[in-house]
């Protein structure tokens, strides 16, 4: 009974959240309802294990899923949000929690189409983006369903289908058009929430470990490197973020396929990504709200006007890229060690991916905040939001100190 307590509480809280958002006419109240629901869920996740309640195994990501979505709704200002924004965030949150509680490939076959349905609805009437997302969603769902449910499951063919489905799902090169298009069009709060959901979906896939994975493992770093190179060559900051996010998700898939420490390392990486990458997306989105479209073709120079926002962007980015002392660093260390031991050349390939990720993050920071302009009138990051960002970072740093011995 105790084990189901978390599930029951999450379902009740989610339902209440939806009811409040849908019944409210004021955007401010919708935002408050979404944030209250997510805060209560976070408290449940943090408090229940401390109170001695046995939680279900395999739900280690729940606190981070909720934290990522909490950040997403907190950083979305009421005047820019809409009913669609907050219901979508809550829907992504419920879906991500569902993937962790109802693990297994059968559930994933349902969850992936649901994910794409939510995204299609969220991108409705945005320059026809819903068509792109819808068609990619159909292909992804078809590929993953046929690989996981087909009678020949476990063969080379199903293995290739699984790989293709995953690459579609995470929006990695060469199947990235839907992903970068959405990053250009959707509000940053929704993107952050969608990223958290993608991490949850990737983590819930039960791999077919018996298959030879050499091809699978070679293709991923090559695609990830190309995605990152595209991100580095971008003049559009949002498209650069999409390349960065996709390559991080590819690294997570690689992490999940290792032998030693693989489960724990992938779990740590997923936890780090769920808080840091949404943080980076949201801080870049916050700058865009203040100054308009962000161009990376030359340094834009907003540091003097928004120094704290600049610091938050850099720290979220570096923590996501696995800078020393962060949770992602520990995860990367474990993953690369395992990977290098198994196949050294692939390990080197992923070392290049991590290096390019760090370079892309630093480019984003330097080109958005340094060079060119003096101080302009504008509101820097609000104290409450800065406090939330600092708290998240502290949470991430200290979570490295309480790892299982």
């Amino acid at each position: 009974m105790n084990q189901d307590l978390t599930l029951i509480l999450h379902v009740i809280l989610s339902l209440c959240g939806f009811v409040f958002i849908l019944s409210s006419r004021d955007i401010r109240r919708m935002r408050t309802a979404a944030m209250t629901t997510l805060s209560l869920m976070f408290l449940v996740e943090i408090a229940l294990p401390r109170l001695g309640v046995n939680v279900r195994s395999g739900t280690e990501l729940l606190a981070f899923i909720i934290l990522g979505n909490l950040l997403a709704s907190f950083f979305t200002p009421a005047y820019l949000g809409s009913r669609r924004t907050f219901t979508t965030i809550l829907a992504f949150n419920s879906l991500a929690i569902g993937t962790q509680i109802f693990t297994g490939n059968l559930f994933l076959v349902i969850a992936v189409p649901v994910f794409f349905c939510i995204l299609t609805l969220a991108s409705w009437r945005l320059d026809g983006s819903h068509r792109l997302v819808g068609s990619y969603g159909l292909i992804t769902s078809g590929l993953l369903a046929s690989s996981l449910l087909a009678p020949s499951s476990g063969s080379e063919g199903s293995f290739l289908l699984e790989l293709a489905g995953l690459v579609f799902l995470i929006g990695l090169f060469p199947f990235s058009p839907w992903f970068s298009r959405l990053y250009e069009k959707l509000p940053s709060g929704l993107l952050a929430s969608a990223f958290v959901c993608q991490v949850a979906l990737v983590m819930s896939l039960e791999r077919q470990q018996s298959l030879p994975r050499d091809f699978y493992l070679v293709v991923l770093p090559v695609f990830a490197l190309l995605s990152l190179l595209m991100a580095l060559s971008q003049s559009n900051a949002r498209r650069a973020l999409s390349g960065l996010a996709a390559s991080q998700l590819a690294f997570l898939i690689y992490a999940d396929s290792g032998q030693h420490f693989s489960d724990l390392a992938a779990l740590l990486l997923a936890q780090a990504q769920m808080a840091t990458i949404p943080g980076l997306i949201l801080t870049v989105g916050a700058l865009e709200m203040r100054v308009g479209k962000l161009n990376l073709s030359r340094p834009m120079g907003h540091f003097e006007s928004y120094p704290k926002l600049a610091a938050a962007t850099l720290i979220f980015g570096l923590m996501g890229a696995g800078f020393p002392l962060s949770l992602a660093y520990i995860a990367e260390d474990l993953i690369l060690e395992t990977g290098f031991h198994d196949t050294p050349l692939l390990g080197i390939g992923w070392l290049f991916v991590t290096a390019l990720t760090a370079i892309a993050v630093v480019k984003l920071y330097l080109f958005l905040f340094h060079g060119g302009r003096g101080r302009e009138p504008g509101l820097d990051i609000l104290p409450s939001k800065l406090f939330a960002a600092v708290l998240t970072m502290v949470f991430l740093i200290f979570s490295t100190l309480v790892l299982p011995a």
Binding site: P177, M230, G301, E304, P324, E337, G371, L401, P404, A405
Partner: protein, 434 residues
């Protein structure tokens, strides 16, 4: 046992004040409570002074030919995997810590006036404290993993100092270029650690019998590890073929230039090479490579320095030249001489860098007193094909920049842009209203 306790206590005393000063300054800036310039400098002096005296005590308290290992705990333990915080207090570590903290203390004092009322005053000292933490970590690291952490921290703080002036585009572009070189060459260090783990199950720096410092012990695949580490050294110390980043890093304020090219950052490469002393002695190919790289670096730097028109560029290339000579010394196995050279060069070059801005002022004052410009002798040389080639080679810094930027970075990014254009066209085709 008491000696170990003393060493551990002193190791804490070296690190904690610097970290505490950083946390105090970062916390104050986050909370928008900007401390006064005086209190920042006072706290930095206190932290760096304590670190200096603790290092001095460490030097006095233990004989150098032993070198003690202090385990300050574990960062994390997972299964059989330990990430221990091990400090190595040997001759190299203590020497580097002593001159680093002393020079940082001086730079801290110098910057108080130099950056007085500058908008980035607080940011500069924050970066300086991060830099000091990274530098001390690299110096005392008892494992290669810990050295890597310090190495990365130094890299990041370097970028913060290069891009210090936020209202000009050039520092941001140059900062990105330097960070790219750092991060891509650091792959060598990462790969060496992974290689060591998979082949010898250990990356702890081991005490050697014949050499009065601790280094990386011989193991299976020594040559591979040595060459991987060399890649990281080439990037960090601006050795051939990566010398071109150093003049680009010139964008920061003078005190940060002193920190980089003169005194500290560029000397981390020789530190790692000194830690590799045993590997170098056992690998003739590596010794030969080091001598060749050192000679090429010294040659290119000495040619380039002759055609520089500003004092900071001249000093930067002179520093690169000296680093070339230090590398040759290490390649020849003259490790003690190399360590001495590092200390002498760091101190002398810091003096030159800190003197550079006032030197021009003094010259102008001197000329005003004399009432005429000081004469500069121009020698007319016969223009030959060889002279013209050497001049162009010097002016273009041996074409290293062209090779890295125009032949490697730009084509790769152009290819990525072409893919991106194709992707946009495909997306627009599906999305457009029918």
């Amino acid at each position: 046992m008491p000696n170990t306790l003393l060493v551990e206590g002193l190791a804490y005393l070296i690190f904690l004040p610097v970290i505490a000063a950083f946390l105090w300054l970062a916390g104050s800036m986050l909370l928008s409570r900007r401390p006064s310039e005086k209190s920042i400098v006072r706290n930095c002096h206190l932290a760096l002074g304590t670190a200096f005296f603790a290092s001095l005590l460490l030097a006095v308290a233990q004989p150098f030919d032993i070198g003690t290992e202090a385990v300050l705990g574990s960062w994390f333990v997972i299964g059989g995997y330990h990430y221990d915080i091990v400090m190595q207090t040997d001759l190299i570590a203590v020497t580097y810590a002593l001159f680093s903290t002393l020079l940082l203390f001086l730079i801290c004092s110098f910057s108080q006036r130099y950056l007085h009322k500058e908008s980035g005053f607080h940011r500069f000292y924050l970066a300086l404290l991060i830099f000091a933490t990274g530098l001390l970590l690299v110096s005392f690291a008892g494992t290669l993993e810990l050295l890597l952490v310090g190495w990365e921290i130094v890299g990041l703080s370097s970028i913060m100092l290069i891009a210090f002036f936020t209202t000009r585009p050039q520092p941001a572009q140059n900062g990105l270029w330097v960070f790219s070189i750092y991060r891509l060459t650091d792959i060598g260090l990462y790969a060496a650690i992974l290689y060591l783990h998979s082949h010898s199950q250990a990356t702890r720096l081991t005490p050697l019998d014949s050499v009065p410092w601790s280094g990386i012990g011989l193991h299976e695949g020594t040559q591979v590890t040595a060459f991987l580490l060399l890649i990281a050294v080439l990037g960090k110390s601006a050795l051939f073929p990566f010398s071109s980043w150093l003049p680009r890093a010139m964008e920061g304020p003078t005190p940060s230039s002193a920190v980089f090219y003169g005194a500290l950052s560029v000397h981390l490469g020789p530190l790692l090479l000194l830690r590799m002393a045993d590997l170098i002695s056992a690998t003739p190919a590596l010794s030969a490579t080091l001598i060749a790289v050192g000679a090429l670096t010294a040659l290119v730097a000495n040619l380039s320095v002759r055609v520089q028109s500003d004092i900071k560029s001249r000093l930067a290339f002179s520093a690169v030249g000296q680093l070339g000579f230090i590398t040759i010394e290490i390649g020849l196995g003259w490790f003690e001489l190399a360590l001495l050279h590092v200390v002498a060069h760091a101190v002398f070059r810091t003096l030159q860098f800190l003197r550079a801005p006032s030197l021009l002022h003094d010259r102008h004052q001197h000329e005003a007193l004399l009432g005429h410009h000081l004469s500069v002798e121009h020698q007319d040389h016969e223009s030959t094909a060889l002279r013209r080639f050497v001049f162009r080679l010097s002016l273009e810094r041996a074409f290293l920049d062209i090779l890295l930027v125009d032949r490697i970075a730009r084509p790769v990014l152009a290819f990525a842009r072409a893919i991106d254009r194709a992707e946009r066209s495909a997306a627009n085709f599906v999305c457009k209203d029918s």
